[in-house]
C-alpha cells in the first residue's frame, strides 16, 4: 500500500495541496463550524447580539411535533424511493445481463437518464401528472378519479416519490449490471447444472453474491433521497400542500432562507450533518470489512 519510491521536499506538495485545502476550509469547514456555533446560540430579535444557550435549540427542535413529523415523513420518503428505485433497477439489470440480441442498445437506452437533473425530472412528471395539462392526470380526472396533487397531500407525496425514484433507476441499473457481470459464469452455470431453477437460483446464488452492491446502493440511495431530491420536491410542490412533502432538507430551507430562523435552522443543519456522518461511517466500515476479507 505505502509507496517506497517518493519525491523529495515538502514545499512543492504543500503548494499542490493548498488550493483544495483552502476551498475545503472556506466553503466546508468554516460554514460547518458556524452552523454548530449558531445551533448553540440564540440571536436577540434586533440582531444586536447572540447568547449562548447550550442545547436549548435542539431540545426545542425535538419537542416540536412538526419537526418529528418531518423526520417520520423523510424516513418514509427515503425508504420508499430507495426500494422503488433499486427494485426496478435490479429487475432491468437481471434481464439486461442475459445474452439477448440488442443488449448494447438496451443498455444505452437505460443509462442515459443518469444525465437528467432532479429538478428536470419534476418538470417531466408535471406534464404527466398535472391535473390540468398532464396526460395521465387529466385522464384520471376524466374517468372519475379525483386527482390533484396541488391540494391532496397524499397524492403530492406519491408524485414526488415517483419523480424522485424514476430519476435514480439508471444509476442503480449501472451498478447492479456491473455487479451481475462480475459474478463468475461458472458459479451460475454450476447452480444450473445442479438443477436450481430461475427464481430459486436467483434468490440463493445471485442475490447473496450481489449483496455488497446492494448495500452500497442502499446507502447511496438513502443519501440521494434525503438530499438530492430537494430540486424535485421544490420544483413540484415547494414542500406543500401544507407540509405534505416537506422533507428535512426542504424544512431547513424554508425555516432558514424563507423564514430566517437562524437558531432552529442551524440546529436542523447539525442534525442532518450527524445523519450524513453516520451513513458515511456505516458505509466505510462495511467497505473496509469487505476489502479485509
Amino acid at each position: 500500500m505505502e509507496r517506497r519510491t517518493l519525491f523529495e521536499g515538502w514545499f512543492l506538495p504543500a503548494v499542490l495541496v493548498l488550493p483544495q485545502l483552502l476551498l475545503t476550509a472556506f466553503f466546508f469547514l468554516w460554514p460547518a463550524g458556524e452552523a454548530i456555533w449558531w445551533s448553540l446560540t440564540r440571536q436577540d430579535p434586533f440582531g444586536l447580539g447572540s447568547a449562548f444557550v447550550g442545547l436549548e435549540n435542539f431540545s426545542e427542535l425535538f419537542a416540536d411535533p412538526l419537526y418529528v413529523d418531518a423526520i417520520v415523513r423523510t424516513v418514509f420518503f427515503c425508504a420508499t424511493v430507495s426500494v422503488l428505485a433499486m427494485g426496478v433497477a435490479l429487475l432491468l439489470a437481471v434481464f439486461a445481463d442475459r445474452e439477448i440480441r440488442g443488449r448494447a442498445i438496451y443498455r444505452t437506452l437505460l443509462i442515459w437518464p443518469y444525465a437528467i437533473a432532479p429538478a428536470i425530472s419534476a418538470v417531466l412528471w408535471l406534464f404527466i401528472l398535472n391535473p390540468q395539462v398532464g396526460l395521465l392526470g387529466r385522464w384520471l380526472n376524466a374517468h372519475g378519479v379525483p386527482w390533484d396533487y396541488t391540494i391532496n397531500g397524499g397524492q403530492a407525496l406519491l408524485m414526488v416519490i415517483i419523480a424522485s425514484a424514476w430519476k435514480q433507476v439508471s444509476y442503480n441499473f449501472i451498478f447492479f449490471l456491473a455487479g451481475l457481470q462480475s459474478i463468475p459464469r461458472a458459479v451460475t452455470e454450476a447452480a444450473r447444472m445442479d438443477g436450481a431453477k430461475g427464481w430459486h437460483r436467483f434468490r440463493t446464488i445471485t442475490l447473496p453474491l450481489l449483496s455488497p452492491t446492494t448495500f452500497f446502493l442502499l446507502v447511496v440511495n438513502l443519501v440521494y433521497a434525503a438530499f438530492d431530491t430537494f430540486g424535485t420536491i421544490y420544483a413540484l410542490t415547494r414542500g406543500g400542500p401544507g407540509k405534505a412533502t416537506e422533507t428535512l432538507v426542504i424544512k431547513v430551507y424554508r425555516d432558514g432562507v424563507v423564514n430566517l430562523d437562524l437558531g432552529s435552522s442551524s440546529a436542523q443543519s447539525v442534525v442532518l450533518m450527524a445523519g450524513v456522518i453516520a451513513l458515511t461511517a456505516i458505509q466505510f466500515r462495511f467497505m473496509a470489512r469487505r476489502t479485509d476479507a
Partner: protein, 275 residues
Amino acid sequence: MSARTDWLAHIVLGLGVLLFALPVWLVIAGSTQDSGAIARGELSLLPSLDLSAYPRVLTHGTMGTKPVWHMLLVSGGMALAIAGGKIVISILSAYAVVFFRFPFRRTAFWLIFITLMLPVEVRIIPTYAVMSDFGLINSFTGLSVPLIASATATLLFRQVFVAIPDELVEAARMDGAGPLRFLRDILIPVSAANIAALFVILFVYGWNQYLWPLLVATDPGLDTIVIGIVKMIGVETQTEWSAVMATAVLALLPPVIVVVLMQHWFVAGLTEGEK
C-alpha cells in the same frame, strides 16, 4: 445458449426503455404544439412539424426570464468550470498525498475527506453567510468555485496513483524527470481514462445543480437553465407551455449527449471508483 428469442427479457427491457423515453417524448411532442391547446388539456403524444418554439425561447425566453441561450451559457460555463476545476485541484492534491511525505500529510488528507460528509444541503444558511462575507453572492465565481472542492475526485485519483508501480516512478527518476515532469508526462497520460470518466460525472453534477444556484444567485442574469425552467413552471397561470417544453428539451440535451457519447468510459469509471 438456446437460439430461442428471450421474449420475457425483451418485454421487460422494452417496458423499461419506455418508462424513461415516454416522459421525454411527451415534452418533445408538446414543444411542437399550441400552448393554448396544452393549457386546455389537449396535450398529445403526436408531435407536429412546428418547431418555432425553439428559436423563440432561445432568443427571447418566456415572460420574465432571460433568453434560453443565455441560461444555457451560464449552465455550460458553470458545469465546465466545476468539472475542470475539480479535476485539476484533485489531481494536484492526490499527487501530493501519494508521491510525497510532508508534515501534516495525513491531516490534509482527512480534512479533504471530511467534505464527503458535508454536502451543501446540510449547511445551507452558514454557507450563504460565508459567501456573502466574501462578496460572492450573485457572481459567477460564487456559482462555481465553492463547488470545486472535491473529496470524491481526490479519493479516486489517489486510488489510481497508488496503483501505479514503483518501477515506473523509479524509471522516471533515473531518466532525470523532476516531480512536475513526472506528473505531466507520465501520471496524467496514464490516468486519461479516469479523467474522462470523471469529467462526465462532474459535468452532469455541475449542470444539474439546483439548490446552490438558487441560494447564491438571485440575479436573473445568472439563472442556469435548471433554475430557469423551474421558474417557468412556477407561474401556472397563462404559462406558455410549448415554450416551457422546448426549454425542458434544451435543458436535457447537453448532459444526455455527454453521457451517451462517453458512455463507455463513464460506466467503467463510475463502477470502478466505488470499489
